[in-house]
């Protein structure tokens, strides 16, 4: 299998470059991450990437694979066009090779206050939730914050410092719709300006690339409809 991988070590390289690799696949190689780690083990141990769980749960090996963001650990080798072109997530500062600085992504995520806000007296035990209200969180809470959606979004590319981005807005809706949260009005007010929510143009790259099969664009539309409904 032929691969072309983005390389950049700011301490050594004047500018980034693409490096070609050729790997002989073994019967145990099923996913793209297997091949990348084979390169790292057998050809170039300086190749740098994040990885952890190997099963699409931690979200750390998100990268741009043949122009489309995805998780290397759950991307089957079968069907990949060659050479497989691997780049770091778009529009993020590169730390080294396939590792990007996620600071801005997590700043936007934290800006939506991703936790239940409740100013009522704390109950003796937990805050109960009906099965129907709990079901409203399905398709939202499963986000692993891999940033595949946000970094595939042109609106985020243009305004990363102001537009919350699909992952942050999916989580914003997750807490807006949570029956235990009492800050719905404040959360909606926080999103109602020209940038934080309404930079979204419904391009839907986010929903297209989400490795978990979630639909941030649908959550964004629901927030907009909630804003329209209350005005």
């Amino acid at each position: 299998m032929r691969l072309s991988i983005f390389r950049y070590d700011p301490e050594r390289d004047a500018k980034p470059y693409m490096q070609a690799f050729e790997v002989t696949l073994q019967p145990t190689d099923r996913m793209l991450l297997d091949v990348i780690l084979r390169i790292k083990d057998e050809q170039d141990d300086s190749l740098t990437l994040r990885k952890s769980c190997w099963e699409g749960v931690c979200g750390s090996d998100a990268m741009n694979i043949n122009g489309r963001n995805g998780l290397a650990c759950v991307t089957p080798l079968q069907g990949l066009n060659q050479p497989v072109i691997l780049r770091p997530l778009p529009a993020m500062p590169v730390i080294r090779d396939l590792v990007v600085d996620m600071t801005q992504f997590f700043e936007q995520y934290h800006s939506i206050r991703p936790y239940v806000l409740n100013d009522e007296a704390a109950p003796q035990k937990e805050r109960l939730q009906s099965p129907e209200d709990r079901a409203k969180l399905d398709g939202l809470y499963e986000c692993i914050l891999c940033a595949c959606c946000t970094t595939q979004c042109p609106s985020f590319w243009w305004n990363p410092e102001r537009f919350v981005g699909p992952a942050g807005l999916l989580q914003a809706y997750r807490f807006i719709i949570d029956s235990r949260d009492t800050a719905r009005r404040e959360r909606l007010d926080d999103l109602n300006d020209a940038y934080r929510l309404f930079r979204c143009r419904t391009i839907m790259n986010c929903t297209e690339v989400c490795p978990r099969g979630l639909a941030p664009s649908r959550a964004i539309e629901k927030i907009r409809l909630m804003l329209a409904g209350r005005s």
Binding site: A194, Y195, L227
Partner: protein
């Protein structure tokens, strides 16, 4: 940063204007498809009718509002220096106002 319509109002204006324009264009296609005017005189008589004239005026208002929101978005995205944005928005607003005045003049003259 808020400039003119922003956030929800802009989004609602864009969608409402798009729906109106879509309905009006479908009406135009149906009208000219099934009952096309046979002369310039009948075309003028049709456009001078109060209902058609009003609907056409609303169509162009919707078009100008739609263009304003869309182009404002483009300026916010692509005109990065903050100092350049007010002049760019002013040029856009002036252009749309001139176009609107020109359209109003044409529609009013069609009444006579």
């Amino acid at each position: 940063m808020r400039m003119g319509v922003s956030g929800l109002p802009a989004w609602l204006v864009q969608r409402a204007s798009a729906v109106y324009m879509l309905v009006f264009i479908v009406y135009l296609i149906a009208h000219f498809g099934f009952d096309p005017p046979d002369s310039f005189g009948s075309w003028r008589a049709w456009i001078a009718g109060p209902a058609v004239s009003l609907a056409t005026g609303v169509f162009f208002c919707a078009l100008l509002a739609h263009v304003w929101v869309g182009m404002r978005d483009v300026i916010l995205d692509y005109v990065r220096p903050m100092a350049a944005r007010p002049p760019a928005l002013a040029v856009l607003a002036a252009s749309l106002l001139i176009l609107g005045a020109w359209l109003a003049r044409i529609l009013l003259r069609s009444q006579g």
